[in-house]
């Protein structure tokens, strides 16, 4: 699931083009009454892969009774644990230090904003490649990414006019940015692409689900990326800011090309990958069950500090 093969170990070649980010992701789940048993899986540790290097990563869990770590089917790191003592709060803090490299530092020639990578496929090449068998999972609509007639029609139009799959990808993201209002809290984690489109508003995962749905409708394998975002592309070193869990996409046209539909731009230094899947449901930051009464609240904060 990696996105390139270029050597990224020699950071000095890129000098100050490397960012070092400290990410502190804290989640506090509050239960309405005392819970004696809960089972939990957290996906909030950045992935060590071309494009980014994890210098350190740790999780603090309270109450703590042990944790197991594994890579899931799509390659995302999962921290799994259960708690068997009475608790009304469960707090998990994931602290990671990650170096991110500019887009041009990896991949064959890079895939910076608007520029084609040399292996960029034509529509004909994409159809004739074997990627439709290999990436069936990233071509099939899920409940969260399936489209209605209107969106299918728009996809068809873009497909007819776009020079190649990459151009179609950028066109879709540009259309979404024009058509949808970014609005926090307007949608939830179970909101589907069609619901967000009907509301004409949403958050990053709605933009991503819509882009995924439309690109899959054009038979371009497309996957969901979960990660973090530093909100300032000219981030000041040493200053801690409120960051975010973020979501964007990758489409396949000979290689996996990342793109951020919420911002209609290529991800850069400020994006940190945690994991991937078919849609949000494959990479929820927090997933769990507990025995007890329904409801409660949760508080999530992501603090990001650019260290260099």
């Amino acid at each position: 699931m990696s996105v390139g093969t270029a050597d990224i170990t020699n950071g000095s070649n890129y000098g100050s083009d490397i960012w070092r980010l400290l990410i502190v992701h804290r989640t506090e789940l509050t239960y309405p009454d005392t819970v004696t048993t809960s089972y939990n899986e957290f996906r909030m540790q950045p992935s060590d892969e071309p494009g980014q290097a994890v210098l350190s990563s740790r999780m603090e869990i309270d109450p703590f009774e042990g944790v197991t770590s594994y890579l899931d089917y799509f390659g995302t790191r999962v921290a799994s644990f259960d708690v068997h003592r009475a608790h009304r709060h469960l707090t998990v803090t994931a602290t990671s230090t990650v170096e991110t490299f500019p887009a041009t530092a990896f991949g064959a020639g890079g895939y910076g904003a608007g520029t084609a990578h040399p292996d960029e496929m034509t529509w004909e090449q994409l159809v004739s490649s074997d990627c439709h068998d290999r990436y069936e999972e990233f071509l099939t609509p899920t409940h969260l990414t399936e489209l209605n007639d209107e969106l299918n029609g728009l996809s068809e139009q873009i497909r007819a006019q776009a020079r190649n799959p990459s151009a179609a990808g950028r066109e879709v993201c540009s259309l979404l940015k024009k058509s949808l209002k970014y609005e926090q809290g307007a949608t939830g984690v179970h909101t589907s692409a069609v619901e967000a489109w009907t509301e004409k508003r949403g958050v990053c995962q709605d933009f991503s689900h819509l882009a995924i749905g439309m690109l899959r409708a054009m038979s371009i394998p497309t996957r969901y990326v979960s990660g973090y975002l530093h909100p300032d592309k000219d981030a000041e070193i040493g200053k801690t800011v409120i960051g975010q869990s973020h979501a964007w996409i990758e489409w396949f046209d000979g290689m996996w090309v990342p793109y951020d539909p919420t911002n209609a731009s290529s991800p850069g230094h400020s994006h940190v990958v945690v994991g991937r899947g078919r849609d949000y449901r494959d990479v929820p930051p927090v997933k769990g069950v507990y025995a007890g009464p329904e409801a409660s609240g949760n508080e999530v904060t992501v603090r990001v500090t650019r260290l260099r």
């Binding site: 009774e65 069936e136 939830g188 949403g202 709605d206 973020h246 911002n263 992501v302």
Partner: protein
């Protein structure tokens, strides 16, 4: 007293007792002779005794919510030692190949890279459970228990109808039928050496213990049942009792830090191997259906950590998929470098254009089956279907080619069966049960012979009004008859009275609120105390719909799956 067999009809099907009118196959001679001494009334009386005994012992299955005795015909079905060889070697071959296939599908995917089967065959299966990808510790023992359904075609050759490597059921009837028939038809055995079926529970327990976690020298085995409302509950109790292990429900189990315990009146006991009789989706609400109260959260991760063996392994359903079935001969050649011993039924894949074209042109001659169906549901037998049914089938295929296969109609073999006061041929199939201990695969000499009781009925299925027969596998003349004693330790499940029932599993989900725009830039407050607490996106909870013991979800794999054929 030849009345019983008077006007015994012969059709296209292979008859197991007669090779022609009045010509009895040697294996059936003593049974035939015994029957000749009995009148229809005698037979009827004995059959009634059998039925009452079954009901008294609770040997029933639930159909439409009503407990009924599983109809048992007292005329046995006989398989000679020579014929059995094919089953005894062919079934293990299939199990070994499917073991390798499952390990590959949940591992490196070599067979896809090598272009032997398409990857999407597996990724589009609803039984491909990504939750267990990369879990290799059960390789070689993913299929501990299998029930590969066989039929005999018009030439008497065994063919595989489908593979059942999830939660195959029915072995309890094999054990009970033998006892019942030997009591009421004791004279029919004659000199023939009928191989014993009594060693099954002992073999099963030995295999379950053998596939336990590596670092446990004396593994504890339990049988996990969905509960008393499951149609195969009788079987779950019987197997637990015969093996001398606890019969537990999900609420009796607790997972802590990837280790599993069963709550008993004597405290918590560690559990290392679970012979589960519920479907994947109900096993672990943490990984599958949150609303299931039948399983226990944490089981999958306990297995992932290597502290628990789940038998059969989670995710085996991909091998039961009827489209995967069409590739099994290739799968055998690929992993084992052997030719298949058992034949498949000729099958057409609706995703392949030339197959589809052929099938649509010949619908009225084919059997159309949903790839994911069980219990005979959704099957269309072309030669028996009216125009409107065929047209609906055509449409269903065109809408979802992945969802259907088409097979050549085969006249299943027939065995004489008591119908009223006459003996008449009825179609049968055979489910031999195989037990894999990780090193070798042993096939129980016997198996469940299911009978389609209504005349001309083509779907042999307990849920479609089918019955069963005792299956006699004859020993080769020189081999000794084995009748090992069974240790029978009775062990009743402990009901933890001090345990409060779980209210229901709730979902915790938290997500911070999405993206920032580069334009305009966001300038958050960086004062530590002023850090805004982002309200997570609406956390959504689903209240567990099922309550403990509710009869709403009664999964038990492919219990008694279907056997359609033409005649």
């Amino acid at each position: 007293m030849a009345d019983l067999f008077q006007d015994y009809p012969f059709g296209r099907a292979w008859d197991e007792m007669f090779s022609g009118p009045g010509v009895i196959r040697p294996a059936y001679e003593s049974v035939h002779a015994a029957l000749q001494t009995l009148s229809a009334a005698d037979l009827k009386a004995r059959a009634d005794i059998m039925g009452r005994t079954f009901l008294d012992q609770g040997i029933t299955f639930a159909l439409g919510g009503v407990e009924r005795p599983f109809p048992l015909d007292l005329i046995p079905r006989i398989v000679t030692a020579q014929e059995w060889k094919v089953v005894q070697t062919g079934v293990p071959q299939r199990v070994r190949a499917l073991e390798a296939f499952l390990a590959d599908c949940y591992g490196p995917g070599r067979i896809f890279e090598d272009g032997v089967v398409p990857r999407r065959l597996v990724t589009t299966s609803p039984h491909f459970h990504r939750q267990v990808a990369g879990m290799a510790h059960q390789d070689g023992a993913r299929i501990v228990i299998s029930g590969v359904d066989l039929i005999r075609d018009e030439h008497g050759a065994f063919r595989v109808l489908e593979d059942n490597v999830r939660v195959p059921s029915g072995v309890s009837y094999v054990l009970e039928n033998r006892q019942a028939v030997s009591q009421v038809l004791s004279e029919a055995g004659g000199d023939s050496q009928i191989r014993s079926v009594a060693e099954y529970p002992g073999r099963l327990l030995a295999a379950l213990r053998a596939v336990g976690p590596d670092n446990v020298s004396d593994p504890t085995v339990v049988v996990l049942t969905p509960g008393v409302y499951n149609s195969a509950y009788f079987e779950h109790t019987l197997l637990a009792r015969e093996m001398g292990v606890e019969l537990v429900e999900g609420r009796d189990l607790i997972c802590r830090n990837n280790r599993v315990f069963v709550r008993t009146t004597g405290g918590e006991m560690p559990v290392h191997v679970i012979y589960r009789r519920l479907d994947d989706e109900f096993l672990d609400p943490m990984q599958f259906r949150l609303d299931s109260m039948l399983g226990s959260p944490g089981l999958i991760n306990a297995a992932r950590a290597g502290h628990l063996t789940i038998a059969n392994a989670v995710g085996n359903g991909i091998a039961d998929d009827k489209l995967v079935y069409t590739y099994v001969p290739d799968i055998i050649r690929y992993y084992l470098s052997e030719e298949p011993i058992l034949l498949n039924v000729d099958t057409y894949r609706m995703e392949e254009p030339d197959h589809l074209e052929y099938a649509l042109e010949h619908l009225a001659e084919l059997v159309i089956k949903p790839v994911d169906g069980s219990g005979g549901k959704g099957i269309v037998i072309g030669s028996h279907a009216d125009a409107s049914t065929l047209s609906k089938a055509r449409q269903a295929i065109l809408e979802n080619p992945r969802g259907w296969i088409a097979q050549r109609e085969i006249a299943l073999s027939t065995v004489p069966t008591l119908i009223g006061d006459k003996v008449r041929p009825r179609h049968v199939d055979l489910r031999p049960f195989a037990v894999n201990d990780g090193n070798s695969v042993w096939v129980l000499p016997g198996g469940l012979t299911r009978v389609a009781l209504p005349e001309g009925e083509l779907v042999v299925n307990s849920s479609q009004g089918g019955g069963s027969k005792d299956t006699w596998v004859l020993a080769a003349p020189e081999s000794p008859r084995t009748e090992p004693d069974l240790e029978q330790q009775s062990s009743l499940p402990a009901q933890p009275e001090d345990m409060e029932p779980l209210v229901g599993w709730q979902e915790s989900e938290a997500q911070s609120t999405g993206a920032f725009f580069f334009d305009p830039p966001v300038t958050p407050d960086d004062d530590g105390a002023g850090l805004r607490h982002q309200q997570g996106q609406q956390q959504q909870h689903r209240r567990a719909a099922a309550t403990a013991g509710s009869p709403t979800a009664l999964p038990d794999g492919q219990s008694f799956s279907s056997t359609p054929a033409g005649q």
